[in-house]
Amino acid sequence: MSAKWLVELRERARELVPKIPYQQIRDSPSVKYYTDWNAFERCADPNPAMITRAGPVFDLVEPGVAVVNGYLSLGKVPSGVRVLDLEDLGDEYGSLVFKSIDINESKALARHVANLLGGAYVEIAESIDEPLRIIVNTNTNSQVLIPTHYTIAVNDGVRASLGLYIVNNGGCPSTTAEVYLGKGSLLNLLVISMGDSTPEFTMLRVITNENSSVVARSLLIGGSMNHHREDYLLQGVGSRLNHLGLEVGVGSSRIDYQVNAMHLGEGSSSYSRVLGVARDRSFVIHRALGRIFERARWSDTNIEGKVFVLNEGAYAASVPVIMVDTGDVNGARHSAADASLDEDQVNYLRLRGFGKDEVIDLVLYEVAAQFLDSLPEDFKLDREVLRRLLMSRLGQS
């Protein structure tokens, strides 16, 4: 029996579903959708009969919280961390869930909430030495939507590391997370999205407080239609974002990766860099927004992206947007490149006896190494797991 707030929220979302589109296009006529929303239409609404476990559960890292096909179980939860099942949340905590995400925004969000299967409320009350890992694993033979939600609160002055693994082994994972940072807190955030032949939808929203910092690292691998959005709301005065993302398109995958750094607090600062590789017949999209609102005076944002198109038949798109609503700005900068391999680099390597495929592999490994080496030390175990995972995925293509 779900809590009252959850029942009402689902009901409200259910009413919205037929009324709103997946995406509003307020753009010029020659710019179309980057996400193929029709793919999500092919994901059925969940019912228990359709959700049957199809294979082994992802177990390469030890979870603090594991959610398999919407069912929550607890593993090694560091002390100072409290985890509550969404279904068990009373109205007081329930009112904090989806507080920062507007379910009116899109059909994808409304469907997500209307069919919400589970999730957790996590409170990190004290600094933790080991990362807390949340593993969201969908694992079913049916193409069925599996929506889960996570609200994570990091208390004032706390230093913590959080890993969010979204592993698609069948089904259509639909994951939302909102992370609230307390004053002066520091969060190392690692987000992993491993795609499959079914679409997946992810929306992460991080809200900073005064003088809080987030060091975010995101790795997206494959996925037939992987819509992945990360919003960083730099609400607190003097808050900071340092972000590095890597998206790897292999096979016939399509990844629409969107990173938004929105400055609302004075003197806030953001840096986001996304590396991408498009291999085989994949389509890799990098969208980024650095926005400085009127009240975020004396802020700065720097958005960078580089996507390598590695072979014929692979595609890339970049949309790096900056929007500045005040003249009292320290600076807003972006740069983007969609490019083939550097000819000089390729020639240098080929003169030394490397074949074209080997050159591509070398570039891939170099890009992967840049990402892995940038992970905060707290994630040293994850680094090795991800290295093996990346190599095996790249080797398969």
Binding site: Q24, I25, R26, D27, S28, P29, S30, V31, E294, R297, V307, V309, L310, N311, E312, G313, A314, Y315, A316, A317, S318, V319, P320, V321, I322, M323, V324, D325, T326, G327, D328, V329, N330, G331, A332, R333, H334, S335, A336, A337, D338, A339, S340
Partner: protein, 471 residues
């Protein structure tokens, strides 16, 4: 407070160049609901061949089917029925400035058209509201075999040539393009035969005389193989109360190894909503350089588009925009690389002040098979006060592995170092700011003929006049 500049918008209006609107009498007007009857009536008034009438009607059907764009920065829609959609001034088409009525001559003199015509232009065609009122083409062009005349005259005299290109470069693919094709009036037709070099530019001067006017100018420029030409469109309007709409179209077809430069200078008053539908198709080895300067206006939306269709074709798109006061100034660029070894370069600069918003919105599309295509986009914006805004919204879509597409942009405020340097040499803070802004635009305007640089500078100075009294 650094960057805090407050201007009296009404006093510093760039349309001060033309002053207050002078009354212009119209001979014929068309107003009301846009229907088949209206389009038929317009076609009849212009004495057009049947193919053009049918083309207009097809565009009207498209207009009726197409949705109202939801990306317009306007509250609600534009009330087209409130505008005079065709306004023919009571003026015989003049061949020399002396033949023009005094009020029009004064407008042209304020824009220094007679001086430019004598010194640097190969011809001038002047449009007021919906009709061409002035046409003066130098004999040299005729000798070279160049056709340069008003569009409506070309439809009658060279129907086969016009039909081959009209609405083919820019088909009725969205609502305002369809509206232009259905209701077009005015504009120029230029045909440069193969192996011909037109040394001096040809200019189209477009004026909107008053509020409540819908202007649908349509120009077509065809440049033959191995030829070169330069074409300038200068738009202006005097000060009036109320809104007018300019929904114009410039279609350019550039044959093999030809070179074309297109300069678009907009100097509207505050009441003008401007849509520029400008597109060039560029064949093998040919090049097109777009250069755009934009001042004034309520809303400006213009994305010059180059379709690089031929191997080795090139384009540059350079724009500067000054968004002063309650204005939305969207100067973008679109480039389609559809052939190998094509090259494009886009440079955009914007300055926002007094609550103005400058926007760069662009698209670079590289089709699969456009091997070794290269494109670079560079945008810079200055925001001069806390009420103003600058947005940069580029799209890069690359479907070719050997292509290289890069984009970089920066938005910031005036450099304190530069201001300090100028102030240490005796300039007041406001004068220093003005100079920095002028210098910022000079980087780009240096590509204009020198006579135009001085006119454009003058216009910028007027726009910034309250900033520091420069000029």
């Amino acid at each position: 407070m650094p960057g805090d500049v407050r201007l009296d918008i009404a006093r510093s209006d760039v349309s001060g160049m033309l002053g207050a609107a002078k009354p212009i009498t119209w001979d014929v007007t068309i107003k009301g609901r846009i229907t088949r009857d209206m389009v038929e009536e317009l076609s009849r008034l212009k004495g057009e061949p049947d193919w053009m009438r049918r083309l207009r009607l097809r565009a009207l059907e498209m207009f009726e089917k197409q949705p109202w764009p939801n990306w317009l920065p306007l509250e609600g829609t534009i009330d087209l029925e409130s505008l005079v959609l065709y306004a023919k001034p009571r003026v015989e088409r003049a061949r020399s400035m002396d033949e023009l009525p005094r009020e029009l001559r004064e407008y042209y003199e304020a824009l220094r058209v007679p001086e430019l015509e004598a010194k640097v232009l190969s011809g001038v065609i002047g449009q007021v509201d919906s009709e061409v009122v002035y046409e003066s083409i130098k004999k040299e062009l005729e000798r070279l075999g160049v056709i340069a005349m008003s569009m409506d005259e070309a439809v009658r005299k060279y129907p086969d040539l016009v039909k081959q290109y009209f609405a083919k470069v820019f088909p009725p693919e969205y609502k305002f393009a369809s509206l232009n094709i259905a209701l077009w009036s005015g504009g120029v037709f230029v045909y440069v035969p193969p192996n011909t070099h037109v040394k001096m530019p040809l200019e189209l001067v477009i004026l909107i005389s008053s509020a409540g006017v819908g202007q649908f100018e349509h120009s077509l420029i065809v440049v033959g193989e191995n030829s070169s030409a330069e074409f300038i469109v200068a738009c202006a309007a005097p000060v009036f109360t109320g809104l007018s709409l300019h929904d114009g179209m410039t279609e350019v077809y550039v044959h093999r190894n030809a070179r074309v430069r297109l300069v678009d200078l907009k100097n509207w008053s505050r009441g003008v909503i401007y849509f520029g539908n400008n597109r060039a198709i560029i064949e093998e080895g040919a090049s097109v350089d777009w250069l755009s300067g934009s001042l004034g206006g309520k809303v400006t939306i213009v994305y010059p588009m180059s379709v690089l269709r031929g191997v080795g074709s090139r384009t540059t798109i350079t724009s500067v925009a000054l968004a002063n006061g309650p204005t939305w100034k969207e100067e973008g660029a679109k480039v389609f690389h559809t052939a190998p070894h094509t090259y494009s370069k886009v440079v955009s600069k914007g300055v926002s002040l007094n609550g103005g918003t400058s926007v760069y919105r662009g698209l670079v599309y590289v089709r699969e098979g456009a091997k070794y295509a290269k494109s670079s986009v560079s945008c810079e914006s200055l925001v001069l006060d806390e009420k103003s805004k600058a947005y940069t919204i580029p799209h890069e879509q690359v479907f070719e592995e050997t292509a290289i597409v890069t984009h970089e942009a920066y938005t910031g405020r005036l450099s304190e170092d530069k201001l300090f340097y100028l102030r240490s040499r005796g300039l007041s803070e406001e004068e220093a700011r003005s100079l920095v802004v002028l210098g910022y635009f000079h980087d780009v305007m240096v590509n204009l003929p020198v006579e135009y640089v001085s006119i454009f500078n003058r216009a910028i100075e007027l726009e910034l006049s309250r900033l520091g009294g420069v000029g």
